[in-house]
Symmetry: C2
Subunit: 237 residues, 2 copies
DNA sequence: TCGATTTTGTTCTCACGTTCACAAGCTCTT
DNA sequence: AAGAGCTTGTGAACGTGAGAACAAAATCGA
């Protein structure tokens, strides 16, 4: 309901949500969706925290950045909270996404149905290989990268996904930015340089495995450390 | 100050590498490999930091956890530092990996050649769908999940990758753990519960997109916040 | 109506991570 | 041999995040 209440209330003024909290909101959103589908109407911070795999104090603090959407002694209305988080993240509207590099990974992404239900619609597939142009994936045909500008503008893409080899990634990023894309998800093992105002997030599977390997190696070395071995759970960073 | 770190002189302090540093070591490793291939013998913290996309002070502090491998006034020997980081992470040896769930994503992962060169060898593909058993991917055949125990033991897997739908993920994780896997990389949108001593890292592409969407939405809202807009670069979390 | 009970929202403290700034230490030139 | 010029390694300041603890607010039963 009242979307103006935030200001009057002394809320963190819509701007000040910590990055760590932003990264957890989608997790809460998913947990709420699952709980809602199971028929639950109201949820306590303890229940929701368990479902999301976090500490309940942390959950409450995270939610408090959005506003006071709970009821003391009762908990949170599942559907209402779900809506508020979705609105805050911006997944009530649909975001148009272009994928560049339709190889192994690009194809997997384009075939994935889970994005649509979460507010993202893949509206263009682009590749540098001319011999692949026209190939259909679902109801989208692969276009040549020279069409990128036109497609981004015509279809209103603000998010671009890079799934090319690493040595092409910077050039692709430059073209995406030139075309007007202001958010990039990069799967290529490369450090991207982009102008201010453009957000880049990277997903690097080799790095994830290497981090696991580091801890795995630690478990193997018999002594040498590890006095009071703690939780050992490694989740996100 | 810290009375344990002393240990002797500049010992790597074996146990105490901060998690944030561990997550960056693979990035340095990749940058060093690239610099080495381009013929560079020696590199300064400033150069390497630029190549890795981090602050040079942070780089030096990170490296200092491994030991004193640089030379003041000169920099770091590229090959020597590369070796030291690889040894610290544990990617000198090969790690055997099993992938569970050979759908869109599982296939992309199994076809990907970049893992082998970074210390990981995919040694088993497992799926729950009996009709897929025997299907070849590269030189590996898909096995049924009931073979998981045997395969993990026979082929010495310590790392498991989950690429099944979300509702199967917990059951798969349980089976992996029961088979002896102690590190899990989870692509399914689900919160996993595992025993102490088992590491879980999750890669959630929907969440990455949602984080981008959040910031994208912020850029759109004209006023309401953003007085002194800062770097705006979002890299990892 | 009042007190018991529940659960939120927030405060406080501690731990962790980042960045600055600079002394220590190395090389090279004179 | 000594000083100039770099670059590392680290102490210290600062900022962000996590978690414990508790007061404030709501419901419920008597
Ligand atoms: N496949 C995986 O499981 C996996 C795992 C980890 C990392 N990655 C990374 O993801 C990226 C993609 O991996 P992949 O396995 O899909 O690679 P791939 O080689 O199968 O596909 C790359 C695609 O990009 C296209 N391409 C190349 N240069 C281009 C350019 N300049 N502009 C546009 N398109 C171009 C190619 O034509 C090809 O279709 C790589 O950087 C890889 O390192 C992939
Ligand atoms: N494909 C993508 O680009 C993408 C993107 C984001 C997230 N994900 C997530 O990654 C996971 C895999 O995605 P996908 O597109 O490859 O799905 P998919 O449906 O193509 O493949 C899933 C595979 O898992 C197998 N499977 C199902 N239940 C199993 C069980 N109990 N034991 C063993 N195997 C089982 C199925 O037989 C199938 O082969 C999903 O959780 C999905 O949400 C995928």
């Amino acid at each position: 309901m009242n979307q103006l209440r935030a200001q009057a209330n002394g809320r963190p003024a819509s701007s000040g949500i910590p990055e760590a909290t932003v990264a957890r909101l989608p997790v809460y959103l998913r947990a709420l969706t699952a709980l809602g589908e199971s028929g639950l109407r109201t949820v306590s911070s303890e229940q929701l925290a368990t479902a999301a795999g976090v500490n309940s104090a942390k959950l409450r603090k995270d939610l408090s950045y959005l506003g006071s959407y709970g009821t003391r002694g009762v908990g949170y209305d599942v559907e209402y909270l779900r809506y508020q988080i979705a609105r805050e993240i911006g997944v009530n509207q649909d975001w148009a996404v272009v994928i560049v590099g339709i190889g192994n990974l690009g194809q997997a992404l384009s075939n994935y149905g889970g994005f649509r239900s979460r507010g993202f619609r893949i509206v263009a597939l682009v590749d540098g290989d001319a011999s692949r142009v026209g190939e259909m994936h679902g109801d989208l045909a692969i276009a040549h990268i020279d069409e990128l500008d036109r497609l981004v503008v015509e279809r209103g893409c603000s998010i671009g996904v890079i799934a090319t080899p690493g040595d092409a990634a910077q050039a692709v990023a430059d073209r995406l930015v030139a075309a007007g894309v202001t958010s990039i998800l990069n799967f290529a093992p490369a450090v991207l340089t982009v102008p201010e105002g453009v957000d880049v997030r990277k997903v690097d599977l080799s790095i994830e495995l290497q981090i696991l390997a580091y801890h795995e190696q630690r478990k193997r070395t018999p002594g040498a450390d590890r006095e009071g071995l703690p939780s050992e759970q490694v989740v996100e960073s």
